[in-house]
């Protein structure tokens, strides 16, 4: 049986070794993201029938779960990682021809490295079972997308990337404040542990961290009042990155919000928050769209 850790570690190792391959020959560098995503695709397909029966919990480091980081590979996680690897594979085949050979060779390697690391970060977010680990992989995703939006170096790209960066890093600071409050209240960073003890404090004590987490992840998920960076970033990025940004990065933001609200706070049945957030978002999004037509 294949260990789900390999879904994260093998693309990471390949991304670290791209400069070494780049010294051997330049044509190999274009094929490495394809190899990494093909491996992920095959491993996810092998794991799907096994996790539909019973989710796999892998502990990293050999200690029992509350005292170490663990990966929680459930059906949602493995299906998401299958979709991420499928989209990543198709877009990287398109990018074989789209990213042409530049004059100085350092820049073409950087594109493939950043691309592979973005997909690694996305796979890490969906597979982890620990709050701070989710934050670290979410930051890998965000910082790679800041660098990739500005990859072409022309006027609109750099301007959109700087606005995206300022807003995105405010969001991640809010997420970190929310994590600090949750740690101070519950004493542990494991999501299963927090979900088990969620009924003991009263609701008002968990309300403020929940708002902070939804706002912080919502900047990346492009919820209505917080998506000022989205139109510029989509139009000024290279087309492969525009596809990945709207297909993967935003959906990972929504997945993180769903995980916080449903998995952590579900037991106290605070339904109305998530409903109002989604309702306000869809209705006002349509109103603004019609108005700016």
């Amino acid at each position: 049986m294949v260990n789900p850790v390999l879904l994260i570690v093998i693309p990471l190792g390949l991304a670290f070794s791209i400069p070494l391959f780049g010294f051997i020959s330049r044509r190999i560098v274009k094929l490495i993201p394809i190899v990494g995503m093909l491996f992920n695709l095959i491993v996810s397909l092998i794991l799907i029938p096994k996790v539909l029966n019973k989710p796999i919990i892998v502990s990293l480091g050999g200690f029992p779960p509350p005292f170490c980081i663990n990966l929680f590979a459930g059906p949602v996680g493995i299906i998401f990682s299958f979709l991420i690897s499928l989209v990543g594979l198709l877009v990287s085949i398109y990018a074989l021809d789209y990213i042409k050979v530049q004059k100085n060779r350092g820049r073409e390697e950087s594109y493939h490295m950043l691309y592979l690391l973005l997909l690694t970060g996305a796979t890490g977010v969906v597979l982890t079972g620990d709050i701070f680990n989710l934050f670290v992989f979410y930051e890998i995703l965000c910082i790679s997308s800041y660098a990739l939006v500005a990859y072409l170096g022309d006027k609109p790209g750099v301007e959109s990337a700087s606005k995206y960066l300022i807003q995105g890093s405010i969001g991640s600071s809010f997420v970190l404040i929310g994590i600090a409050f949750l740690y101070g209240k519950f004493g542990t960073l494991n999501m299963a542990d927090i979900a088990r003890n969620i009924n003991s404090p009263t609701f008002e004590q968990v309300f403020f961290p929940l708002i902070l987490l939804i706002t912080g992840f919502g900047i990346e998920a492009a919820i209505f009042p917080l998506n000022a960076w989205l139109p510029d970033a989509h139009s000024s990025a290279p087309s492969t990155i525009s596809a990945i940004l709207s297909g993967i990065a935003i959906k990972i933001g929504i997945y993180a919000i769903a995980r916080m609200v449903i998995y952590l706070i579900w037991s106290i049945k605070y339904f109305p928050v998530s409903f109002t957030v989604r309702a306000v978002d869809s209705i006002s999004g349509r109103i603004v769209c019609i108005q700016s037509e």
Binding site: F132, V136, E139, I143, Y146, A147, A150, G153, K155, P156, V158, E159, S160, A161, S162, K163, L165, I166, S169, I170, S172, S173, L176, I177, I179, A180, Y183, G184, L189, A228, W229, P231, D232, S235, S236
Partner: protein, 119 residues
Amino acid sequence: MIFLSNYIYYTGAFGLIFIGLYILLTRHNLIKMIIGLSILDTGVNLLLISIGYIKKGTAPIFSTPNLNPQNMVDPVPQALVLTAIVISVAVLAMALSLAIRLYQHYRTLDMRKIKEQRW
């Protein structure tokens, strides 16, 4: 006053966070915004560390083999802050490189004048 004397560390951390947010909301120069971002990150790190403090505790290092484990502070927030500091350094490096390129294209760093895109 009693509230302040007990929670002085939290007040200091949130004071830094609010100063950073105020700079980000009201200043137009990109370099000032980056300084505000750095102050915000510093405040968040201070908040994380001060959650793990135990009164009259020392550093969690067993320099002589028979130190009392009851008097040591919590080691987990220190590990979290190590990671958070490195993340804020990385974002700062990216932001500065974008500021250099932006100045090269537009010859100004005033964000009110850099408005060629829609928003």
